[in-house]
Symmetry: C2
Subunit: 366 residues, 2 copies
């Protein structure tokens, strides 16, 4: 599918760029952060609230929706957009990352990955063809090739073998693809080896996808290593396709990685941290359960204009958190996502002002 | 405080009436159902959502807020309205019911009730004076006298003694009261004995409160017994004050009890049932986890126009419930409260049409 990715502005001081592309469900303005809606819901939020925050696209998980309620069910219910009442764009991952994250319980072969359901222990074989079949049934706007991220502790030989197998799987995904109204992104791998990263990028881009992801990062490595892996992959990705760094990251990561040429991000951090009571603010992180907030009648972040900051005090948010009240988790989630959204806006402004490079360089030194 | 209770319309076929009264934070139109916001939040809902549902008043719990975050904290934070960002009216109970519900752990004397905190086991003595002090610190619009509901299995002698002690406590509450901008309601008791109910109603009304509650019901008795207890209490309550039946009940209970002369209700049923996946609809109760809803793309209730029914299918609500997703609990809560709100509207219309008596009689026979 031609998503018409166009670059509107390049930052003169970094590889950052402002762009946009189209899906069946709207325009995606890049750089972009995609909230994670694992099981067809951005945890705690109503789809209207996600839209009000200004997000044009959310991510959902193939692995989870395959197991429950089942992709056939979602298809019968007219697809994921209707199912979750989200009229904007959706990206589904391929299931590769979930399989990686429970790798002690899986059996990987050339055919695919055999795994046991975390819900009922039933065994399933997820193949590139099935992953594409599931993603076509779900009906997201952007679907991802099925790949195998490797564990950081993997040997060079294993990483090379898995990386090359991911290329073969990527090819099978292209062959299996039937729907023409979905963009299909390839995922580059290569572990923490610069040569393997380069080889994977060359192999995957040679196959020809609608966009390209960098996979297998944000698995515990330092920001320096992550940066180095991006730097040796990015030059081999075509300039005229969106680049998506999977599973990243902190707000500072977004700044540093856009400056390295990345257009798209997703991460559970803002939503998961919110549920744990860790909140991002312009004054640094806040651990809301801290007793110093018991009588604090100020908003979480004086510079934030989100619903949470406009209406509620730290004292109330602390009370809700200490009492285990769901409203607290929801208000925290709203705020953290607003902070990410605001960070993206600041990054866009920095690109317009040609000073993203300076900002990113400052963060690299921290 | 003069709340100016006025009756606008009496039903010719029952004791039902449409009325209204004023608090510092607005007008309360009766009959009314008050959502329960135990710990200063109607569980899962944003205050804006509660207001959008059309509720003018919510209930909060003295016992819970006394223990956490503490009434002094709420007072320092400018009171409960500001704390929970709810600009409309609030009623706080006195703590009597909570003490009753954990009666195995309490020691009751003329002075008050000694109990152990469910949070940290610390021991506290809740007296009528402290209950009023807490409620004045919290700053609700309507506060309740401290009373002792008795267990259904209590002897006649104990019920009589406790009922008379509740009267003495009610008197102490009136004496302890300092704020003039809060309405103070007395609570009638008497267990399941008609004579004791009558005596309690006479004693409490003789003391002179701004409104009157019937306490100690909805503790497991049949609807016939509940009805009989209301019928022997209600004639002794002044016609020109609001009557509040505490902790009641099902939607049908609202119909039957308004027809018996009740103006105000509160109950955890709509919100608690929502969290358990039991939903009220015009076609009867729905247990959303039932597998027959897996592919059901219809709304919960075709006659309901709430946010949940307008936007989401039973299949999606089932998926959220089975996945333990918070959004599901919130959408269920929104719907159940909308159903209660709608029930109240239908009751009001029946009073206007002079046929509430007929409706209630039909339900009595079911």
């Amino acid at each position: 599918m031609n998503i018409n990715f166009t670059i509107e502005k390049n930052d003169n001081t970094s590889k950052g760029r402002i762009g946009r592309f189209s899906t069946t469900h709207g325009t995606i303005n890049t750089p972009i952060f995609m909230p994670v809606g694992t099981r067809a819901t951005v945890k705690t939020l109503d789809p209207g609230e996600v839209a009000d925050l200004g997000f044009d696209i959310v991510l959902a998980n193939t692995y989870h929706l395959f197991l429950r309620p089942g992709h056939d069910v979602v298809k019968d219910l007219n697809g994921l957009h209707r199912f979750m009442a989200w009229p904007r764009s959706i990206l589904t991952d391929s299931g590769g990352y979930q399989v990686f994250s429970m790798r002690e319980l899986t059996k990987i072969s050339e055919k695919g990955v055999e795994f046991a359901s975390h819900i009922d222990g039933t065994r399933h074989l997820l193949t590139p063809e099935l992953s594409i079949g599931i993603q076509e049934a779900l009906g997201a706007d952007i679907i991802m090739a099925f790949d195998e991220p490797v564990a950081p502790e993997s040997s060079h030989d294993y990483t090379k073998m898995a990386s090359e197998r991911s290329t073969r799987w990527a090819e099978r995904c292209l062959t299996a693809r039937e729907r023409k109204d979905q963009a299909l992104f390839g995922i580059t791998q290569g572990g923490f080896d610069k040569d393997l990263r380069k080889e994977s990028a060359q192999q995957i881009t040679n196959l020809g996808f609608d966009g390209y992801a960098i996979g297998g990062l944000s698995v515990g490595e330092s920001k320096e290593v992550m940066g180095a892996m991006i730097d040796c992959t990015e030059p081999h990705l075509p300039i005229d396709k969106p680049r998506y760094l999977m599973g990243v990251g902190t707000p500072d990561d977004l700044v540093r990685c856009v400056a390295r040429g990345i257009d798209m991000f997703d991460c559970v951090m803002p939503t998961r941290n919110a549920r744990n009571g860790t909140l991002f603010t312009s004054q640094g992180k806040i651990i809301i359960k801290n007793s110093k907030y018991v009588r604090d009648d100020s908003p979480l972040d004086p510079e934030c204009s989100c619903h949470t900051c406009k209406n509620f005090t730290k004292a109330y948010l602390r009370h809700l958190f200490m009492s285990g009240e769901i409203l607290g988790i929801k208000l925290n989630t709203l705020h953290n996502l607003a902070f990410y959204r605001h960070t993206i806006e600041k990054i866009r402004q920095a690109i317009r002002d040609d000073n993203l490079g300076e900002w990113a360089a400052k963060l690299e030194k921290e």
